[in-house]
């Protein structure tokens, strides 16, 4: 990831009440939220929050309800005006913008997706997606074209003339996403966008978001209360509690080194198999046989590595199949070639697949799983036993080189 900082949030505080500014000194003294509420009747929404959000990353802000995460994300596009602090986008402090500048900023740089979609029920899907362009006074034919393109991106082609109430929740949120994307913003704010959806649809939408992000490379600030969701889609995660940012880091860092007890508790019941990906538990492919090598080399390779099956690749390391020791010896006896005894029906996985998703494949297969790149090149192996052991602890990630598979 490039170190380009797109948005720099600096000591942002948001206080609700009749005289918010007067509370700032108390915040700076480090008084607790409850104490401030009891003494002054002011509610501290966000408490001295700072974070750097990098160009092109998905930055997740995670916290329970009331932790100030929604307040904070609304500060980023000034739906909430921060009581104190600065937000620098491309070097400009947007908190100090006047009305006209603010309108420009919202129209061109930042767009938001809402928890309950926030769709305009009186407009068709097309009308909804066009809204931002209409506000910017983009000519009609052009905005129609852009809107249609974005409706297609989120997979709603053919629904453009329906009304939001005619679509399911998942589809409505796709409209919300298309509407935000149509403005071609640099920064996309997503306020618990998938919380209102049922679990199956939520998973599908998460994957789709990652897919869209891969193509568009926006800077995304994503809010969620769900740890699994945060760790699944976040490049980096900020954990908030009582308006304060407790820790910022990659999912792996937070899992390995939680900053305090609160975060430890928070991640205690997280399903590691949903955070760890194939690449985290795969082992290096040090035993490989080329198709040209023949059966004898394959047998030698298995003997040297103490394994009972070996993957076969071509010169470009494209996966061809697997050969077992039994088949190889029988093949040599019957004067067959490597190709004759090759088992091509091998389960393959991608390196960014979650361990959790590998379980069915592991159960289904008699051989180790091959981790392959998009062009089918072998990148590593996963032994079936590791799919299951990966769920328990972290020691299992350091492997002895023995491939005791099958």
């Amino acid at each position: 990831m490039s170190e380009n900082i797109k948005m720099k949030v600096q000591n942002i505080s948001k206080i609700f009440g009749p005289k918010p500014k007067s509370i700032i000194p108390m915040v700076q003294e480090g008084k607790e939220k409850d104490q401030i509420l009891a003494e002054t009747g002011h509610t501290v929404g966000v408490y001295n929050a700072s974070m750097d959000i990098k160009q092109g990353e998905i930055f997740v802000i995670m916290g329970l309800s009331g932790s100030g995460k929604s307040t904070l994300i609304r500060c980023l596009n000034l739906l909430n005006k921060p009581t104190d602090g600065g937000i620098y986008v491309d070097g400009e402090n947007v908190v100090e913008y006047n009305n006209a500048q603010l309108k420009k900023y919202r129209q061109n740089k930042i767009a938001m997706v809402f928890q309950h979609f926030g769709l305009f029920s009186h407009r068709t899907i097309l009308g909804n997606v066009e809204y931002g362009l209409e506000i910017r006074e983009v000519p009609k034919s052009e905005r129609r074209e852009i809107a249609m393109k974005n409706i297609e991106i989120v997979g709603l082609k053919g629904y453009e003339n329906k009304y939001p109430d005619e679509l399911s929740g998942g589809m409505q949120q796709r409209v919300g996403l298309a509407r935000a994307l149509a403005n071609d913003p640099d920064i996309l704010l997503m306020d618990e966008p998938f919380s209102a959806l049922d679990p199956l649809i939520r998973r599908e939408m998460q994957l789709e978001l990652l897919d869209i992000q891969e193509r568009l490379q926006k800077t995304i600030v994503f809010i969620t209360h769900d740890v699994n969701e945060a760790f699944k889609i976040g490049d980096r995660v900020a954990v908030m509690k009582d308006g304060k940012v407790e820790q910022i880091g990659t999912p792996e860092t937070i899992l390995e080194h939680p900053a305090n007890d609160y975060i430890e508790d928070f991640i205690a019941d997280i399903d590691r198999s949903k955070v760890l990906q194939a690449e985290h538990i795969m082992i290096q492919p040090n035993a490989l046989v080329s198709l040209k090598d023949g059966l004898k080399v394959a047998v030698k390779e298995m003997k040297d590595n103490g394994i009972s099956s070996v993957f076969v690749v071509d010169r470009q390391r494209h996966l061809q199949g697997i050969v077992t020791i039994d088949d190889a010896i029988e093949g040599i006896r019957d004067k067959k070639s490597l190709e004759d005894v090759l088992i091509t029906d091998v389960n393959t996985v991608k390196r960014d697949e979650y361990v959790n998703d590998l379980i069915p494949k592991a159960l289904d297969s008699k051989f180790p799983l091959a981790v392959v790149s998009d062009d089918h090149r072998v990148e590593g192996f996963i032994l079936r036993v590791h799919v299951l052991s990966g769920l328990i602890g972290d020691e299992s990630e350091q492997e002895e080189p023995v491939q005791a598979g099958v």
Partner: protein
């Protein structure tokens, strides 16, 4: 002015402290009348020519065209059987010999409703946007609705003399509150996330109102239109006391002559018209409502 409040017959134990607010008000009305006479003349001209225009237009239509329009409206917004029924109602009124006065009544109601909406919707929007204005307006609206409607007839005569314009004026005061109230309520109740999302795209205040708040509020505003129309119709009968023509006048004549037949015919005609107007505007409102509720 000759003031008698039955002091002679009422043996009140209340001390003899008098604050004659009625006199203050009547002086004030006098003052308004003389000061703004040209303005009232102007309003009178516009209102009376509007009523006349609509009435002439309606009377110019061949009766069967009018019935066809009624049928189509009923069909479109309710059902085909409703359309037939409404047209039959209007036909019946014609057979009572009350066709021309029916058109007059419709003209007065339409004029009142149109002016109500032109004034009421912007006022409602202002109330939704400004808390202060809303606080000031609320008691005024309460007063407008609870004051016995006959009371409005007096200033109406003062400003506009006897006739249809006074009827429209009195009707307006009576029928304006529901549309104002419901407009305010509707705008305030637009889902906050919808407002936020419009805002997050950098909408200006005017764009927000025009493209989001008013369309979102429309179903509720339409319910207000339905109420306003019904109240206008109710008031039009009372307004016959200040010389408004139409069905109300027929009722008044029937009372004076103790003519049960005419009273019944005029009365049932008003009922028919009320049903027709209520169902059609109600049908329009619920059509909008359904769109919103299905969300």
């Amino acid at each position: 002015m000759n003031r008698r409040k039955g002091d002679s017959t009422m043996n009140s134990s209340f001390p003899d402290i008098r604050f004659e607010v009625g006199k203050v008000v009547s002086d004030f009305v006098d003052w308004i009348d003389t000061t703004f006479e040209p303005l009232f003349d102007f309003i009178f001209q516009i209102a009376s020519s509007t009523i006349l225009g609509i009435e002439d237009g309606l009377l110019f239509l061949p009766w069967w065209v009018f019935l066809a329009i009624v049928f189509l409206l009923g069909w479109r917004f309710k059902s085909i059987s409703s359309g037939i029924m409404y047209a039959a109602f209007m036909f019946l009124v014609g057979t009572f010999g009350l066709w021309a006065v029916l058109m007059t009544t419709i003209a007065i109601v339409l004029t009142s409703v149109v002016i109500s909406l032109l004034l009421g919707i912007p006022l409602g929007v202002l109330m939704a946007f400004s808390k202060g204005f809303s606080v000031v307006m609320k008691p005024i609206l309460d007063a407008m609705q609870t004051m016995p409607s006959f009371v409005y007839l007096i200033p109406a005569i003062f400003f506009f003399g006897l006739g249809n314009v006074s009827a429209v004026f009195a009707t307006l005061i009576y029928s304006l509150p529901p549309v104002i109230r419901l407009t305010e309520l509707a705008i305030r109740n637009v889902d906050s996330e919808v407002i936020e999302s419009a805002e997050s795209f950098g909408s200006s205040r005017w764009q927000m109102l025009k493209k989001v708040q008013l369309p979102q509020a429309l179903p509720t505003i339409m319910a207000g239109v339905n109420q306003t129309t019904m109240m206008a119709l109710a008031m039009v009968v009372i307004a016959s006391m200040v010389g408004a023509k139409g069905l109300g006048e027929q009722v008044l004549i029937a009372i004076n002559r103790i003519d049960i037949g005419l009273g019944f015919e005029a009365g049932i005609s008003i009922v028919f018209l009320a049903i027709l107007i209520d169902r059609i505007t109600g049908g329009i409102a619920s059509r909008f409502q359904r769109q919103k509720e299905a969300k």
